[in-house]
Amino acid sequence: MRLLRWLASLDRRIIYALVLIVTIIPLIWKSSPPIEISPEVQAAYNSIDKVPGGGIVMFSIDYDGASEAELGPMLLAMLRHCFSRNIRVIMTAQWPLGLPLGQLALDSAAAEYHKVYGQDYVNLGYRPGQNALMVGLGKSGFREYFLRDYRGVMIDSFPFMRTVHNYGQIDRLVGLEAGSSGDLWVQYAGAQFGLRIILGVAGVMATSMYPYLDAKQIDGLVGGLRGAAEYETLIKHPHRGVWGMNSQSYVHVLIVILVILGNLTFYFERRAKKRGPGARGQGSREPQPRNAGAPEGAVVPKAQPQKPS
């Protein structure tokens, strides 16, 4: 009982500290746990793998710093996959704060594979009005919306951009989503213009994207840090996603243990209350006297028969 009482009154900060310790220790070792590839991530990988060398993949950065921990590793892994296959990349952002995050990842991946800005990749920047933009890029073309890149340079000054007019020249769109932009890409660019889409989404919204995968509206789905780890495994380049998986597993084990302990504590506490002499009447099925709980000498009114409603 003493243990139960201690568990029931456990300071939440001890739990935070436990979670922190369990998260940090595996990150120091940076080990790679065995990762099983799910069909949806494999499908995403295969879809990009089928783009011929020199083809164009467009990335839409639709997240900000709050989701970077999940979507950043995903973006980096997909960019590495594209650059390793000499696929050219066009980047845009539907979230203003996604623009610098996308550019940082582009710079990092491009440096690894010796890719040149304007020749192998371009960042078009951010434009507001996402659904109008998505329809407009298919109908009116890129120049109606992105005459210049994010630095203000005319996009026609980049050789490979001269051949890009609308979605017809884009082989795949990779949407990295922390909000509703993924739905809009599927509903506007995918359904109306036949653009083939791969979605990489934050874990919170992964389940809501599976219907698109089942309906074959998207080629593949990469969900959360786990999806990023799978993609890193597929491109044989373990990084933040894979290294985070050990922490992820251990924290989950800790959470399960804490849930079990919490439920056991609750169960035994309730049982003790039922059995305890001081707790008579609290949850007990025995009939109680009418004046139970009332102060001594108090006048207790008679129970009134309830009127039928």
């Binding site: 940090i24 990150l27 659904n131 203000g152 509903q187 506007y188 934050a202 509206q217 959360g224």
Partner: protein, 285 residues
């Protein structure tokens, strides 16, 4: 190099300041919180100005005039005026004027949304829900197991355990599910009763579960009739399907939140401690 180290130290300090809230509320946390909100808002304004307003409005106006496209240049006045009208919200007397650009935005959203939703959501999802329920060449999968356990659980609950446990719902449910699981393992996996396996495999179990769950969920959201009798059973199956979906979302949400913590811890260990502290110290000594 020095710039990177300084920015890493600032980021690490702010990360720790935010995490310090887990211990208790404190001025350092408040400062970091307000700084985060302020910087995000300011950054968004800067992006809007330099990425959109300046090049698309001012830049294009000059470009079009220089190219002799006077009509295209002066038509930019229309979005500029609409944008300015939004600011009338700050003047209560003429705040109603801001409804004009808002109406414009909502009109575009609704117009695009109708076709987008029908073409991109309703029709493809309807099509993907119209699934074959029989699959003669099918093999046993996870869905068949779920279907078998559900069928045995429901039958054993109704025919046996409800009476045996004298209508104690908790125990009846527990024993029914256990029976379903045990019979599945024994009959399908250990004894491998061939007629049962064949009968099960003919059913497209995954499709059947999807169809039942979709119909039952729609029934749950039909409020024009009391949820009683057969309708009530359907609605209960619907709420079970919704709960399964919520459970999956919750699982992913826990994973997502842990991922955020992992991201920050990775930054603190890798970028701050190793690159921001250990590496410069090594360089010095």
């Amino acid at each position: 190099m020095l710039g990177t180290i300084i920015s890493t130290w600032i980021a690490a300090t702010l990360t720790i300041a935010i995490l310090s809230f887990l211990y208790k509320d404190n001025p350092l946390y408040r400062f970091a919180e307000h700084l985060y909100v302020g910087v995000s808002a300011a950054f968004t304004v800067v992006i809007f100005w330099y990425q959109d307003v300046w090049p698309l409005l001012v830049g294009n106006f000059g470009d079009f005039l220089r190219a002799g496209n006077k009509l295209e240049a002066w038509i930019l006045i229309v979005p500029a005026i609409l944008g300015i009208l939004m600011w009338t919200r700050f003047v209560p007397k003429i705040a109603w004027v801001s409804r004009i650009p808002l109406g414009f935005i909502i009109g575009i959203g609704a117009g695009l949304g109708i076709t987008g939703t029908i073409h991109g959501l309703v029709l493809p999802q309807l099509k993907s829900t119209m699934l074959p329920l029989v699959n003669p060449a099918g093999e046993l999968g996870f869905g068949h197991g779920v279907l078998f356990v559900i069928i045995v659980t429901v039958l054993s609950y109704v025919l046996l355990f409800r009476r045996v446990t004298r209508n104690n719902q908790s125990w009846a449910t527990f024993w029914s599910i256990l029976t379903g699981l045990v019979l599945y393992v024994v009959l399908i996996n250990i004894l491998k009763v061939s007629w049962l396996r064949t009968a099960l495999s003919v059913i497209a179990a995954d499709n059947l579960i999807i169809v039942i769950a979709v119909i039952a969920t729609i029934l749950y959201f039909y409020f024009s009739r009391e949820h009683k009798g057969l309708f009530g059973v359907g609605s209960r199956i619907g709420i079970a399907a919704i709960m399964v979906s919520f459970g999956a979302s919750f699982g992913y949400t826990v994973m997502a939140r842990v991922s955020l913590l992992i991201g920050r811890c990775y930054f603190l260990i890798n970028d701050w401690v190793l690159k921001g502290i250990v590496a410069p110290l090594r360089h010095i000594f």
